[in-house]
Each structure stands twice: as C-alpha cells, then as structure tokens.
C-alpha cells in the first residue's frame, strides 16, 4: 500500500481542519452543553434499551428457536412503567430546558447594549459609542453584552454557535439576546433563518477581545459621534423638539427621564418605557398617547431608517434633563431654520 505524499498531506490537512464539537466561548455554553450531554445520554440509553430488546428478542425468539409463539395480551404494569418513566425523564428535560431558556433570554441588568440591524444580506452592528460595523462584531470578554436586534426586511436569525445563543431578528420589533464571551478569538455569526437568495452569505464574525484590546479598538474606530449624539441631531432635524420642549405647557410630553419609567397612557393602561416602546411610539404614536395629551403626533413610519430610530432611542435613553432640548430649540428658532414637521395633518 502506497499513498502518494501529496494526497496524504491533503488528507491529513483536510481531516485535522474538520470540527466535531463547537468551542465553548461564552458563559452560557457550558450550561447548554451540560443539557446537551444529558439529552444525549437519554437518547443513547433509550436507543440501547430498544436495541437490546429488539435484538435480544429477535435472537431468543426467532422461529428456529421458538417455533410456536405464546400469545400474551399485554401488561398494565409494563404499560405504566413505560408511560411514567419516559414522562418523568421528559419533564426533567422540560424543566432543565426552561431554566436554560430563561438564562439565555433574560439579560443581566448591567449588560452593555449593542444594536444589530439585519437586512438582506448583511448584519450591521452599532455600538453606543458610535462605532459601526458590518458583518463584524467586536466585544470584550468578561462583560455581559446585550444585543438589541431588528430586521429591516424579512425574518433573519442571529446565531453564534460557539456561544450557544441564537435569536430571530424580526421586522418591526426589537428582539434581544445576551452573552458574555470568555475567550478572545473570532467566532462565526450565521443568519440561520432562510432569508432569500444570499442567505448563506449573511455571515460574519464576532471578534472577542480582552477588555484592554477592546478599549483600544473602540478608540480607534469611533466615528466621532455617539448614537445618542446622532439621535440628538435627528431629534432637532425632524422637529421633535418643537412639541417635546419639556415645558409644562408644551404640546408633547417631556421626554427627559422617560426611559425606564412607568407611563400612564390615554387608554388608561400603564406601560414600562423600554426601547421597544420608544420605537413603537415614534412609528405608531396613536397607540401610545400619554395621558393628558392630544393625539396630534404624526407618524414617522417610512421617514426614519431603523438606524435613525436606534439613534433616537439611544438619545431618549440618555436624555436626563430638558436643558439641551431647549437650547437647541432657541438656536434653531433664532436661525429661522425650524424644519417642517413632515406630514402634519390638521386636526
């Protein structure tokens, strides 16, 4: 037997470069793997049991050895056994799986928020400091990262197998996922929900850096404007500050400190103001009228991109006082440059 050295080298390279088990690169991964191995154990045990029964009986009771069958009606005891034991095992899987699910989908409160916008066929990441990335995501180790994600067109799904996290990215609604990377390196990002022609090209890389490297990276790749600063500019140019002046007599409610508060709506219900609420209130104001205000806000649907909305949301999150709103307003008024509110309909 002689294998040509070229072929041999190729084979060795090909086989050694293959993967059999994903890396564990987030704090969630060990938890997911534990459940995986438990489920694997059940599967193998179940298969072994069924296999042993089938093969055992086939050998013991084959026609040559047992020419005449003995009729057996059944056994309630046995039926109960193989109802209750699988049920118990499956319930364990359910509880364990549910705990893991809530671990993966409940971000810790101190998580750093990064926005992700999915569109055919790319991922855009926006860091709060204004760093933009395409098909790439830089994150530090040792810090929980929350991704707030939205799609501009169809369903996508943001998956990092080595972190064992995945979440569908939905058009028209924020969805979130979080992770805490443990090992520096680069890891695959996949879009796992079929999203059209170049679905398999909608891939990217997470670059996990040590906190020091991450700091260097943030400084090196900033665009000079944070998301909130962009949002402030947009807030003025869309004319939001014309109504949301922060005065007690203004036509729109004051927005300072609104993020995270409980708001009473005109419909009587009380809501918690989060990113999703802010986004929705800009696009569909009629369903989110604050109690005591008239439904006069026009919709901005189709006038702001998802990125713009993210900027606005970040700005509103950072808005603690109305001081700067009023300052901007005075400046723009003195410049006679107050932009028209788009699409205003006279009540």
């Amino acid at each position: 037997m002689h294998i040509s050295p070229v072929l041999w080298q190729f084979l060795v390279k090909w086989l050694t470069n293959s993967a059999l088990f994903p890396r564990e690169a987030s704090t969630i991964a060990p938890y997911a793997d534990a459940l995986y191995f438990f489920l694997l154990l059940i599967t193998i045990a179940g298969l072994a049991l069924v296999g042993a029964l089938v093969f055992g009986f086939s050998i013991r009771y084959r026609k040559e050895r047992n020419p005449v069958a003995t009729q057996v009606e059944g056994s309630t005891l046995l039926e109960a056994t193989w109802t209750i034991i699988p049920l118990a095992l499956f319930l364990v899987c359910f509880v364990w799986g549910a705990l893991l699910y809530f671990r993966i989908y409940n971000p810790p409160t101190n998580a750093m928020n990064i926005y992700v916008v999915g569109k055919q066929w790319m991922w855009k990441a926006e860091h709060p400091g204004g760093q933009h990335e395409i098909n790439n995501l830089h994150v530090p180790t040792g810090r929980p990262i929350q991704l707030t994600m939205i799609s501009q067109d169809v369903f996508h799904s943001f998956s990092i197998p080595d972190f064992r996290v995945k979440r569908e990215v939905i058009p028209g609604r924020y969805s979130t996922v979080w992770f805490e990377a443990t090992t520096p390196g680069t890891y695959h990002i996949f879009c796992t929900q079929y999203c059209g022609t170049k679905h398999s090209g909608m891939i990217g890389e997470v670059t996990v850096l040590t906190p020091e490297d991450y700091k260097k990276w943030t400084e090196g790749s900033t665009s000079g404007m944070s998301l909130a600063q962009n949002g402030e500019r947009l807030f003025a140019s869309m004319g939001c500050n014309a109504c949301h002046t922060g005065d007690a007599a203004s036509r729109g409610p004051s927005l300072a400190g609104v993020y995270g508060s409980k708001l009473r709506l005109a419909s009587g219900s009380e809501v918690l103001v989060n990113e999703a609420y802010l986004r929705d209130a800009i696009l569909n104001p009629a369903q989110h009228i604050t109690a005591g205000y008239a439904p006069i806000m026009p919709t901005y649907q189709g006038q702001i991109s998802e990125e713009g909305l993210i900027d606005l949301v970040e700005y509103l999150k950072s808005l603690k006082t109305n001081y700067r709103v009023q300052q901007t307003l005075t400046t723009s008024e003195s410049n006679q440059a107050a932009p028209m509110t788009p699409g205003v309909v006279k009540p």
Binding site: Y105, N106, S175, T176, L272, N274
Partner: protein, 112 residues
C-alpha cells in the same frame, strides 16, 4: 349480500339515529326567532354597554348559530356521532384561538 341483514348493533349504537322529518311549523318558529334575534342584535349595538357590546353581539350570534345547527341542520335529531362531530369542530377552533392567544396575551408581560 341479502342473506346478511345488517348488523343489529347498528340500530342501537350511538352512531345511529332514527330518521325524522322536521315539520314546517318548527322551521317557521325558528325562522321568526332568527329574525327577532337579528333585530335585537342591531338594536343592542346602538346602546353603549362598554365591554358588554361585543359580548352580547357574540352571544346572540352563537345562539342563532346553535338554533340553525340544531333545527335547520337537524342536529338535535341526529345521532351522538354527529353531535360529537359538530362539537369537535368548534372545539378545535377554540384550541386554535385559545392556544394562539397564550402567545399574544402574554407577549407584553416581560421585557423580551
């Protein structure tokens, strides 16, 4: 074929019911009831009863539907099998509604 009279169990079994001809009198009564209920439904819509408006409207609609099913469609005179079949249809529809609503109703409970 003719040497075997059909299974006597068929006559007593729950899948079988004696055929019955419904007389026009019943139909007329049902017809008048349906018209009256239609009137009530329209009338009730003009009175402000808050949350009870849709409830009353649906209750009357269900009542009318049940009357039609029972009398026009003869279900009241039919075998248990047919009654269960009708029930099964509406039950499955309820599953569709109720189980889907578990999602829609609890979506805003959490932060996700």
């Amino acid at each position: 074929m003719s040497s075997h009279p059909h299974d006597p169990a068929n006559v007593t079994n729950p899948e079988h019911a004696e055929h019955r001809i419904v007389q026009p009198g019943t139909y007329i009564a049902v017809y008048i009831a349906l018209l009256i209920f239609t009137g009530i439904t329209v009338g009730a819509a003009f009175i402000d009863l808050h949350i009870f408006n849709p409830i009353i409207a649906l209750a009357i609609a269900c009542l009318k539907g049940v009357i039609v099913i029972l009398f026009f469609m003869h279900v009241i005179f039919q075998s248990k099998l047919i009654k269960m079949t009708v029930g099964a249809g509406f039950f499955t529809f309820l599953i569709l509604v109720a189980m889907t609503l578990t999602d829609y109703m609890s979506r805003s409970w959490g932060l996700w």
